[in-house]
Symmetry: C2
DNA sequence: CGCCGGATTGAGTGACGTCAATTACTGTGG
DNA sequence: CCACAGTAATTGACGTCACTCAATCCGGCG
């Protein structure tokens, strides 16, 4: 099946008509079910996709099964980069996701949009490396919450962001694999933050940030020695 | 001083005439001294450089001084990527280094060479994220040795690679900051490997791999679920 | 209601970090 | 060439943060 995106699992969920309303149907955009591994391929070069809606993570495995989630993608992000025709990472959907293949004109990494996405991705990866290598468990979990809140900020019906509530698409295990921790440690941190009034959640996936300042302080701050590239 | 590369430290070492013989002087290539922080900038867009020779690392800091080395660059690699005109990371030389600014035609990220470099860098970052998040201290140190051996493989006078000897440009502290460990742990691992006959070193920076197979086995193996993009 | 996967919680342990003392290098000045 | 100072590396003793193991709880679903 050339040119198609091939989910391995249950996949291709026919969305209950109400739950997803196509936000102005994009040419050839597709809906993929939760928990599918995306073996995106595509004859010639058709490997780049844009996340329109939902949450997709990129991951790698060690041969004994240890998993590292290397990036968490939300609306707008691209995935499917290749080196020598091989995908760089495995992509999995953590929610029903809508994705859209990039048009032929955009497939090339020399496309400005793609090039720019590559650079910001690189930057995110570097910040995450610092988190993985140098932050404590609490700092890691706090950082994750800050980032996910930004990424999946629930917009109220008026279009304005609701008061810092967001849907956590990741399970505790996913968070652990993203942050280089164990499920138990993630759980303990989250519940400590809850006791301390930084966040709140009744359902494990429905997060609300109560004290953004203190949460961000707990997350720590990344900098690097100066270096404006263009200018004064 | 527009358009120049500005080292902060002692810098601009006038190389003792013998120690560096320009390998056919590249247009506008420069020699930078050891242990300089490179505040590369450059009026318009002049921010991309290629490492011709030597070792340069990219790093980030947390506000309390914890450091993470996000990438180690050897001959051929590019550095100086920017997002919104800001450098993504700080670059420091770990040896006397020869670098070469990319020509005007190449400055843009849409240049195929640059785009391709961005992708392989992204891939390296992902593999390193897995190392940081999921590998043990021993696996980390072994992985580092394997990678650095490849990167700085000392070529014998006949041009063929000498028997797995290489110069370790990083100090124990640099290794620690790259691998997310402490100096002491790095040192213990290295000396254990030495006792076990995997490697040897008399001088702390002069490494030799004695048993490549066992070293690579100790390093562990990264994979990710399949996914040829362009395909049979 | 009973099952099952995810999440929480507690108790105990171990890998790696911290602290401190010693040794090995490197460079400088006499 | 040697003395000395300063930094890097090693090594040991000890402490702790996060992992492991295990029990329990909770929520969604047949």
């Amino acid at each position: 099946m050339p040119e198609t995106l091939i989910p391995t699992a249950a996949s291709a969920v026919p969305p209950r008509a109400s739950s997803i309303r196509p936000p102005r149907p994009t040419p050839r955009s597709r809906v993929v079910g939760e928990n599918s591994t995306l073996l995106y391929e595509g004859g010639r070069n058709r490997s780049l996709y844009r996340v329109v809606d939902g949450c997709i993570v990129l991951s790698q495995l060690l041969d004994d099964g240890r998993r590292q989630i290397t990036d968490v993608l939300g609306p707008g992000r691209l995935f499917g980069f290749t080196v020598d025709g091989r995908n760089i990472a495995t992509a999995e959907t953590l929610s029903i996701a809508r994705i859209e293949p990039l048009g032929d004109a955009d497939l090339n990494a020399t496309n400005p949009t793609v090039a720019s996405e590559l650079k910001t991705t690189l930057q995110r990866m570097q910040v995450h490396a610092t988190l993985l290598g140098r932050k404590t468990a609490s700092e890691k979990v706090a950082s994750a919450l800050v980032e996910l809140a930004r990424l999946f900020n629930r917009t109220g019906r008026n279009g304005a962001p609701a008061r810092l509530g967001f849907h956590l698409h990741l399970t505790r295990a996913d968070l652990a694999d993203w942050l280089g921790l164990t499920v138990e440690t993630v759980s303990r941190c989250l519940n400590r933050f809850k006791r301390e009034g930084l966040i709140d959640f009744s359902h494990p996936k429905t997060m609300r940030v109560l004290d953004p300042e203190r949460l961000e302080a707990t997350a720590g701050f990344t900098r690097h020695r100066t270096g404006d590239a263009a200018r004064p």
